[in-house]
């Protein structure tokens, strides 16, 4: 999706289970959802 928008050099740099232990139950675990950081850039 990022590349389809014309952006390049997409890179995920970090991933973590950020919903674990939240006060209310979440659908996150059912779908294997993790928090991520990623970078990309607009071409020159």
């Amino acid at each position: 999706m990022v590349a389809a928008a014309g952006l390049e050099n997409f890179e995920i740099t970090w991933s973590k289970e950020v919903f674990d232990g939240a006060p209310q139950s979440s659908s996150a675990a059912a779908f294997g959802t993790t928090g991520i950081n990623f970078r990309a850039n607009k071409p020159l």
């Binding site: 928008a5 014309g6 952006l7 991933s15 939240a22 006060p23 996150a28 779908f31 928090g35 607009k42």
Partner: protein
């Protein structure tokens, strides 16, 4: 090239309304207990350096509800122009403001009025004159073409049904060579089409 997934069949206005209701609660009652962590405990989970939080008014920290940390992707240079997509109560915008300094500019954009009001109060309390907050949607940002050196966001892009359209809008506001530093979610298991149409699952 990986094929682009189809756009989920959800009513965008209804989805936006549900998201606004949820995040108005996060603005008003950040310690209420949600399906996600909030505030300083979340900042610790997301590995925000304590130094980043220094000088930030507490209300902006209390309503943090992100999924990652855009600043772990690198500092933002002094004098830069930054757009914060889904700025919430303003924490990431204010951290960016510290990095860009008085010569830089930060525009935080959010669709939830309660969050915008909270962010504006925090910016005023902290004396962050280089920041402004605007109401808007990811798919139609109130920012001119090619304005931004850096676009940041934290836990927001997953809430846009048409993600290619949303990322094209980020592409539009970036300068050539401009950077995205984004925190979001990654879903490892296939999500059934029926679940994609279930708006409750978008917010919970």
């Amino acid at each position: 090239m990986t094929p682009t997934p189809p756009i989920p069949d959800v009513d965008v206005d209804t989805l936006r309304c549900e998201i606004q209701n949820e995040y108005a609660e996060v603005a008003a009652h950040p310690d209420k207990g949600f399906h996600f962590h909030t505030g300083r405990p979340l900042a610790k989970i997301l590995e925000y350096d304590e130094a980043l939080l220094e000088g930030i008014p507490e209300p902006a920290i209390q309503s943090l509800a992100g999924t990652g940390n855009p600043f772990n992707l690198g500092d933002i240079p002094a004098g830069a122009r930054v757009v914060d997509i889904g700025s919430g109560a303003g924490l990431d915008s204010l951290i960016a403001a510290k990095m860009v300094g008085a010569e830089g500019r930060v525009i935080g954009i959010d669709m939830t009025s309660e969050m915008l009001e909270k962010a504006c109060r925090a910016a005023a309390e902290g004396g962050f004159d280089q920041v402004e907050f605007k109401e808007g949607y990811v798919e139609s940002l109130p920012v001119q073409d090619g304005w931004a050196d850096v676009v940041i966001s934290n836990g927001v892009m997953n809430l846009c049904p048409d993600k290619v359209k949303a990322y094209k809008e980020l592409h539009r506001v970036l300068k050539p060579g401009g950077k995205l530093q984004i925190a979001d979610i990654l879903v490892a298991k296939p999500v059934p089409e029926g679940a994609k149409r279930d708006i409750d699952l978008w917010t919970g």
